[in-house]
């Protein structure tokens, strides 16, 4: 079998001083990631004639004709699948007065889209944070 992972990432950031004491900054990072098994060949070899890796309704397996039929190894070739989109976005502004008092505001967006959850469940989520603080320098 082959295992392949692939990811595209773009990132950008910008900062601008609107005034000497007033700045605005933003940054963004976006990733698309994929991973999967390809060319999975599950050859069933049963040297003793115990044809339990494939459907066998013959007298060899009268009780369990479907035992270990690879078709019923549910999702096996999907276990390794990875497909996600992740976006981190921030924008903030900071203003500082001559007397040392400043104000900072920041907005953050975290977006994660999990299109191929594995045993850990769907890890997708969207979260936004808004942060602000007053500062005083001396």
């Amino acid at each position: 079998m082959d295992y392949r992972t692939e990811a595209h990432t773009i990132n950008a950031n910008a900062s601008y001083f609107i005034l000497p004491n007033w700045s605005i900054t933003t940054d963004l990072a976006f990733t698309i990631g994929r991973g999967n098994i390809t060319d999975l060949e599950f050859d069933s070899m049963y040297p003793t004639g115990d044809a339990k890796l494939d459907l066998d309704v013959s007298a060899v397996n009268p009780n369990m004709p479907y035992l270990y039929d690879v078709a019923y190894l549910n999702g096996m070739d999907k276990y390794s699948d990875l497909e996600y989109k992740q976006l981190d976005f921030n924008i903030g502004t900071s203003y500082r007065m001559d007397n040392g008092i400043g104000l900072t505001l920041n907005y953050s967006l975290f977006y994660y889209d999990d299109n191929a959850p594995y045993v850990y469940g769907d890890q997708g989520s969207t979260t936004q944070l808004l942060m602000g603080y007053l500062s005083y320098s001396f």
Binding site: Y3, E6, A12, N63, L67, G75, Y112, S125, M131, G132
Partner: protein, 632 residues
């Protein structure tokens, strides 16, 4: 800690408002500075408890677990009459804190400390891959489990049969997370009267507290896996004294590191089912319910001691010699209790010893030529483990009588190894030798060429016990250039070729070299023939070698930097690695790895900066496995 943060902020505020000079004495210039920050963070989309797996992008972000968190931060710097003090603090919530500080007196005595604390959301394995079932026809009378929401992915949500492998998550609704905190602090002494001598002493304390997922077999069979929550309480303490001194052109450094890792985690144990009515199978189990509780998910306490010595001799302006020696010993302390195979006690600590010696000579032969010659020797010695088997007999009333497993089986080849005590030899034990040289040639102004050759030999001392390659010889050739065309344009190009003579392979990894069973006759027919077991009937019959290590590698790297005008900078980079191993049976093992990207920065006006970039990542490899499926 929140109180400490508030007190710290109050102290800074007092200094800022009352005036630091009133606190520390007369004011003669600005000898203090600082900043305080007071605010809050609100989570517009709070992470809910039922999103235990929803940690994409927020694995280490604790603020998203609260609607509101505070933002208290600040820093303070004082400097006067040779006395320097600095401190900084940031408190966001109980699991997101950072503090740092430094006190110095004329740089003779320096004390520095850093404390940080953050939350780590751990994985929760719902084990939904463990649900393989058989599908018996109804006429056989075998149990059908019927439709189940838990099994909706099987058989199109229709009737399913008895479980071959199944799972029960007894902590389904729980979130697993651990808070990690770390304090690092230390002193440095620079005695003016002995300028060539410096001493430092550092201490690190790390703590991990929280809950993690623990798995074990169910009470009945190994094919039913259950998971529970386990309380985590682990601490690590490092102490690290260091002494450096120099005599003329000779500089030496000695250091020692002692590490204690203690796991005071929740002790989990399980009582497994007995064999009432199935006494025939008692001799196949080393333990059952008659032994009482059996431990699982234990983390051993350990100790590590590392001794380092380093010497640097600046022979003259053109020649330098550097050598290092490192000895370390890691010990598993949880094995030193009174011998008890059930609890893993061994009667003594299990040790891993390592010796590393390396040396490098650098010579600048001329203005345009320089050469390095280096060598390294490493030895790893891991202790053997004695395994003692708990051999039991069936009750006298059981079918076949009161016999051990080997006595009860047809034992045509004298196979009793599963009842005999054995010694497990470590695969770590090895000797590694390395020598190499490289030369740098400055061809012309702005253009340098570097060529190198390195030979490495890895000798695995217990290779016979693990059916792996005994000795691997590695040859590495490197060639690189960096060319600064002009002040605005620069190129870097690197090529590396690695050749492994007798690469690392597992010699009995697969069935047969052609991927078939070949002449394999299959399992012995007698159900009570001991040679019908996995070993020797399956593993012992494997003859084909496989590996995920290369025989040869080509690696190319390219970087360029372009700065055509004051307002524009551009970079591009590519790394490609191709690895192949044909010294395996079956198809070759191959790997292709590529990372490429570009970025640019533009400053169209004085107060505006914009940067953007793109990166592409690709990794693929071919593998071949031979998986024995349990048929029972």
């Amino acid at each position: 800690m929140k109180k400490a943060a508030i007190l710290f902020m109050a102290a800074i505020f007092a200094l800022a408002t009352a005036g630091a000079s009133a606190v520390f004495g007369e004011e003669d210039g600005k000898w203090y500075s600082g900043e305080i920050k007071v605010g809050a963070t609100t989570a517009l989309d709070k992470l809910h408890g039922d999103e235990s797996g929803a940690k994409g992008g927020m694995e280490y972000n604790s603020s998203v677990g609260y609607k509101w968190t505070t933002y208290l931060g600040g820093n303070l710097e004082l400097s006067k009459n040779g006395f320097d003090f600095s401190a900084d603090a940031l408190y966001r919530d109980v699991d997101d804190q950072e503090y740092g500080g430094m006190v110095s007196f004329k740089r003779i005595f320096i004390y520095e400390a850093d404390y940080s604390r953050f939350l780590h959301r751990l994985d929760h394995d719902y084990m939904e891959n463990l649900q393989a079932h058989v599908f018996p026809p109804a006429s056989t009378g075998w149990k059908n489990w019927g439709s189940s929401p838990d099994l909706k992915d099987i058989n199109g949500g229709k009737t399913v049969g008895s479980a071959n492998v199944y799972h029960t998550d007894l902590a389904y609704d729980e979130m697993f997370e651990v808070t990690r905190s770390q304090l690092e602090h230390g002193i440095k002494l620079n005695i003016p009267q002995i300028p060539n001598l410096k001493f430092s002493f550092n201490h690190r304390f790390e703590q991990r507290k929280g809950e993690k997922q623990a798995m074990t077999n169910s009470k009945c069979l190994a094919c039913h896996i259950v998971s529970r929550s386990q309380r985590v309480d682990e601490t690590t303490n490092d102490i690290n004294p260091r002494l450096t001194f120099s005599i003329g052109t000779l500089a030496m450094e000695f250091s020692y590191m002692h590490r204690e890792f203690d796991a005071d985690n929740e002790d989990l144990s399980n009582v497994y089912n007995g064999l009432k009515g199935k006494e025939l199978f008692l001799n196949r189990l080393q333990y059952d319910n008659t032994t009482g509780e059996l431990p699982y998910s234990r983390t051993p306490d350990s100790t590590k001691d590392t001794y380092k010595g380093k010497i640097r001799w600046d022979i003259n302006a053109h020649n330098t010699f550097v050598a290092n020696y490192v000895y370390s010993q890691s010990s598993n302390r949880s094995t030193r209790g009174a011998y008890d195979i059930l609890t893993g006690n061994y009667g003594e600590e299990l040790d891993l010893d390592s010796n590393i010696v390396n040396a490098k000579f650098h010579s600048k032969l001329s203005r345009d030529f320089s050469v390095n010659v280096f060598g390294k020797y490493q030895n790893l010695d891991n202790e053997n483990v004695d395994l003692e088997k708990n051999v039991r007999k069936n009750p006298s009333g059981a079918p076949g009588g009161g016999v051990t497993l080997s006595e009860g089986y047809i034992n045509k080849s004298g196979y009793t190894y599963f009842e005999e005590d054995e010694v497990r030899h470590s695969g770590y034990n090895s000797d590694i030798y390395e020598v190499g040289t490289d030369i740098t040639w400055r061809i012309m102004r702005g253009l340098r060429l570097r060529a190198g050759y390195e030979f490495k030999r890895e000798q695995r001392n217990n290779y016979r016990h693990h059916n792996v390659t005994h000795s691997t010889k590695e040859h590495i050739v490197t060639l690189s250039t960096d060319w600064r065309v002009n002040h605005n344009l620069k190129f870097d190009f690197d090529y590396k070729f690695e050749y492994y003579n007798d690469p690392y392979v597992l010699k009995k990894a697969e069935c047969t070299p052609d991927g078939s069973y070949g002449a394999y006759a299959g399992l012995p027919a007698g159900l009570y023939d001991v040679t019908r077991a996995y070993e020797p009937a399956i593993y012992g019959e494997r003859t084909a070698a496989r590996s995920n290590m290369p025989e040869y590698v080509h690696e190319f790297k390219f970087k360029t930097h372009w700065h055509p005008m004051h307002m524009l900078t551009a970079n591009a980079h590519v790394k490609y690695r191709y690895a192949n191993n044909s010294e395996v049976d079956g198809s070759d093992w191959t790997r292709n790895f590529l990372v490429a990207g570009f970025s640019g920065t533009i400053t169209p006006v004085k107060d505006f900066v914009f940067t953007a970039g793109y990166t592409y990542f690709y990794d693929s490899y071919d593998s071949q496995y031979c998986i024995a499926v349990y048929d029972g």
